[in-house]
């Protein structure tokens, strides 16, 4: 398909000439930046970046604490003034890429815009400074917010109730599997195995193993879907559950889900839903209506809570009635006009217990609730529709250039491969790095594992038509460049402060912290 915006990607280092014609388009170029050493390599004895209240003359620790347990200072700590610290992190940040920097189509991670109003709200003293052990009468607002969020998540997913406790998606998986185990144990047999499609995310098998289950991979079909036969073949009385991501990591809806659920249920197994891709279904369909017995949310993806640098996340788990008794603590309940947390196992004798300290990542609850509140029913539905529209638009703009391993309909993301580039020697990794020079964050690469050289593109609903067009134009330009000048693609990226980094070396001679004699070259 043609190039709707007529945007010209920039193949030389200096984007300027092109940029001039296309000034509106956030073209990549190079600008002034800074080398910045480690904190531990700067500063000078005696500097300080804080201003602390006086100690007063109340007691010398040595009179109470055994000398052997005391230290005068922590060796190696930097000594830097506030201005130097501000400059240090300001400069480090300038080497980074965030959603606020540009397009971030990292498949499976749903990198959508993180609303600024949510940040203002999470910082209100009434939220940020309330202690988890404060008397409930001092935290009614926090408890009501948790209650409303729990109700909304249960409704959105179509389940009876939701625990907000899990700290991230993977812990949500672990939690869900614990509930499944508890359910089976209550029926006299924990069972041994968990069925996991080959398209599944790595956390699925890892969470299963961590929960003492043996993982049985199930191959998905030519169409990228899981097929009833495959499940039927693998299903037996030792299978505790099947873990299904729907839509799956290929962005494909598991349309046989209902039948598969029947097969599993018929043998007494349960169906776990990995809800990381829930963004595709908001208001359009509910896992609870498809035969799933339990699923986790990834609030930090679907509900746009910031997780810079890798976290924090939040992985609430929603369940059907039969799993209610086993939910971890706490639960938030409403009693008349009051809200309280159920934390005493005596109230919930069958609970699997606690998954983390206190009540969950409350700061994320505030943000997720704020987004749900602003979107409302129509907005949630529209979110899924536009997320899917964007992925399908990208698919349409790229399918003639890149190999599409599965012709099946895509929902919120689409997976391509580097197959067409084989003759040029250019790989998925090279394409990813060259995209950086064009001013785009690369898609997720080499995942899912079932796809060789996968390029997994998830635009999310917060990106505009033009952005997707420019990204696809860059993708096509790279394919063209691969044919003419493969070495240029392989040399990428050339614009950031660092070229490709030697990952093998990092793993062979690990240097994982600063030491005075540290040398890396």
């Amino acid at each position: 398909m043609a190039n709707p915006t007529g945007w010209k990607p920039d193949l030389e280092a200096g984007a300027a000439p092109v940029a001039q014609e296309e000034v509106g388009l956030g073209h990549a170029t190079r600008g002034l930046s800074f080398e910045e050493g480690l904190l531990f390599e700067r500063g000078s004895r005696g500097r300080i970046g804080v201003s602390l209240p006086p100690r007063g003359n109340d007691g010398d620790p040595a009179s109470e604490i055994p000398a052997a347990l005391l230290r005068a200072e922590v060796e190696g700590m930097p000594e830097v003034g506030e201005l130097e610290v501000v400059r240090h992190f300001t400069r480090l940040s300038s080497w980074n890429w965030g959603i606020d920097t540009g397009f971030y189509p990292l498949g499976s991670c749903t990198m959508k815009y993180n609303p600024k109003s949510s940040e203002a709200l999470a910082r209100l003293p009434g939220f940020a400074e309330v202690h988890p052990l404060a008397h409930p009468s001092m935290a009614q607002g926090a408890l009501e917010l948790m209650y409303r969020l729990e109700r909304a998540l249960s409704e959105i997913s179509g389940f009876a109730a939701t625990t907000l406790a899990p700290a991230a998606g993977a812990q949500g998986e672990l939690c869900g599997l614990m509930l499944i185990r508890a359910y089976h144990v209550a029926r006299g047999n924990p069972r041994k195995k968990v069925l996991i499609p080959d398209t599944a995310h790595g956390t699925n098998p890892a969470s299963s193993a961590l929960n003492g289950y043996q993982v049985v991979p199930v191959k998905s079909g030519e169409d990228g879907r899981l097929h009833p036969e495959a499940v039927r073949a693998a299903m037996d009385d030792d299978v505790a559950a099947i873990m299904i991501t729907n839509p799956n990591t290929l962005g494909i809806f598991e349309s046989h889900i209902a039948e598969i659920a029947e097969i599993v249920h018929a043998k007494g197994g349960l169906v776990y839903g990995d809800g990381a891709n829930m963004n595709a279904l908001l208001g359009m369909a509910r896992p609870g209506d498809m035969g799933f017995d339990v699923m986790q949310f990834n609030l930090h993806k679907t509900f746009a809570t910031p997780h810079g640098g890798g976290g924090p996340g939040s992985g609430p788990v929603a369940v059907k009635e039969q799993l209610l008794p086993f939910l971890p603590l706490p639960l938030v309940v409403r009693e008349g006009e009051r809200y309280r947390l159920v934390t005493d196992p005596a109230e919930r004798p069958q609970t699997v217990g606690k998954l983390r300290e206190f009540w969950g990542n409350f700061g994320m609850f505030v943000r997720a609730w704020a987004l749900i509140r602003e979107l409302g029913p129509e907005g949630l539905r529209r979110t899924a529709q536009l997320a899917v529209l964007n992925a399908n638009y990208a698919r349409a703009l790229l399918k003639d250039t890149y190999d599409l391993p599965y012709a099946t309909d895509s929902l919120h993301e689409v997976v391509f491969t580097d197959k067409n580039l084989k003759p040029t020697g250019v790989t998925t990794m090279d394409v990813a790095k060259r995209l950086i020079d064009h001013g785009f964050h690369p898609p997720t690469v080499y995942f899912p594992l079932v796809v060789h050289g996968a390029l997994m593109i998830e635009p999310t609903e917060t990106e505009s038509k033009e952005t997707i067009e420019r990204f696809c134009a860059a993708m096509r330009a790279i394919a063209a460049e691969a044919a003419e000048r493969p070495e240029a693609v392989k040399a990428a990226p050339v614009k950031p402060v660092r070229a490709r980094l030697d990952e093998t070396r990092a793993a062979r001679k690990p240097v994982l912290r600063w030491t005075p004699d540290m040398k890396v070259e």
Binding site: V50, R71, W95, A128, S137, M178, P312, E374, L512
Partner: protein, 445 residues
């Protein structure tokens, strides 16, 4: 909708390109019976003005006028405004796991600095890029010990944070590993006799708090000795990391693994989360470490740079044979701690710890003036339990005065009648002597 840039015209053109008749048509792969054909029953959309007003009202119903006098795993500390203003920079705040190192050097170098801070404070050689929280970090430490030793028994002190012990139990339930809990004495320290008795050739780990849940600086060296005597690993758990500015690093005292939370550095209590769990250990166990880790390397031009490394331990490569299932961690919280620690520096950390110790003394004396004595005789940092009669009643009464009084230990040790009267309180740099005095008097009446 301000977050949805699509105009109606955009939608139409995009649908055409995608060969779909309508937005709903894009979902044709979802069998009709599985679709939702009614609006979700959530509140109607709120504009930003209404949204902010509504949530401000909710926030106003949480009483945070005074710094809480309770820590018990979440400590009220001053967060310099510089921390948050740097944290909010979009390049940090809206990034994710640094999968593409060339455009993630900011996150990566900050993580490398975080790992260094964790090592310096714990006195151990390596640390990872953060865990969910202190509790799951403790559970992962126990699991690591079982992998390293090939043993299946975990001995844990009753003075380790009860919530951490609950999480430990939850994580170990399916593995068949046994957890043996050893009591603490009248001084609030782990009962060393009972500990040595409990540790045997089957023991993978000995877990003690440092300081422990009772605020007491536990006998870590002796616990480590007891563990090592039987070839077990010693795991130290720290919830109030500011203490490490005054106390020896656990690694220097024999701990093989140090875990806990750095919430006290740069992260508000935020009703209990999020906060950065930390995980440090001896180099020899590196390959068994859970979670992400950042390492230094060079780029094609020989310039130093950083990458995520040793990923063959992790779920995305190893899947069911991974050392842990953790993926998303607590990156931003770790960054907040890193910035705060950078500001503190050597002097600031030492001083902050001593100010906290001093405020603890002020609290002890203020409570003593009101006739409340410490429940435990062991040495403490900034947190300590007092005998106040009916602790739950005190907490309820002080709530009426806008004071979060403390953690009633009876709630955490229901089977121990001695605990009913004990109230665990904290005093930090946020608690002025005046406020502390007001508090002590309020506890009295």
């Amino acid at each position: 909708m301000r977050y949805h840039p699509h105009t109606e015209g955009d939608v139409r053109e995009m649908l055409d390109a995608a060969g779909a008749k309508s937005l709903d048509d894009l979902f044709r792969s979802i069998p009709a019976p599985l679709r939702l054909n009614r609006p979700l029953e959530v509140p109607p959309p709120a504009d930003e003005v209404t949204l902010l007003a509504e949530l401000r009202r909710l926030a106003a119903r949480n009483d945070a006028q005074h710094p809480p006098f309770v820590g018990a795993g979440a400590y009220p500390h001053h967060v310099p405004p510089a921390v948050d203003q740097l944290l909010l920079r979009g390049e940090f705040f809206t990034a994710y796991t640094p999968y593409q190192p060339e455009i993630s050097q900011g996150t990566l170098q900050a993580l490398f600095e975080w790992q260094t801070f964790v090592c310096l404070l714990t006195g151990l050689q390596v640390a990872n890029a953060s865990m969910y929280d202190g509790a799951s970090a403790t559970a992962e430490a126990a699991l690591l010990a079982t992998r390293v030793t090939g043993r299946s028994k975990v001995v844990v002190s009753a003075a380790v944070h009860p919530e951490y012990r609950k999480v430990l139990a939850t994580y170990l339930r399916s593995s068949g590993d046994v957890i043996v809990t050893v009591p603490f004495g009248a001084d609030g320290r782990t009962d060393l006799a009972a500990l040595s008795a409990a540790v045997d050739e089957e023991t993978a780990a000995v877990i003690v708090g440092y300081p422990n849940f009772l605020g007491v600086v536990d006998a870590l060296p002796q616990a480590a000795a007891a563990a090592h005597a039987k070839g077990a690993l010693c795991v130290s758990v720290t919830t109030e990391a500011v203490a490490l500015g005054l106390l020896q690093g656990p690694g220097a005292l024999g701990a093989d693994v140090a875990v806990g939370t750095f919430q006290s550095f740069g992260n508000p209590v935020s009703f209990g989360g999020p906060a950065p769990g930390f995980f440090a250990l001896r180099e020899e166990h590196l390959r068994q470490m859970p979670g992400r880790v950042c390492g230094a390397t060079v780029d094609k031009q020989g310039r130093r740079g950083f990458v995520l490394t040793l990923s063959t331990r992790e779920q995305h490569i190893r899947r069911e044979r991974a050392t842990s299932n953790i993926c998303t961690n607590a990156g931003l919280c770790a960054l907040a701690s890193t910035i705060h620690l950078a500001l503190l520096g050597k002097q600031g950390l030492a001083e902050l710890a001593r100010v906290n110790y001093a405020r603890g003394r002020v609290l002890t004396e203020a409570m003593a003036r009101q006739g409340f004595r410490r429940a435990f005789s062991g040495p403490v940092f900034n947190e300590m339990a007092f005998e106040v009669g009916d602790a739950e009643a005190v907490v309820e009464r002080l709530a009426g005065r806008g004071l979060a009084a403390g953690a009633p230990l009876g709630r955490f040790y229901p089977d121990d009648p001695k605990m009913k009267g004990a109230l665990l309180c904290v005093a930090t740099e946020l608690h002025t002597p005046e406020l502390i005095d007001l508090f002590a008097k309020a506890v009295r009446s």
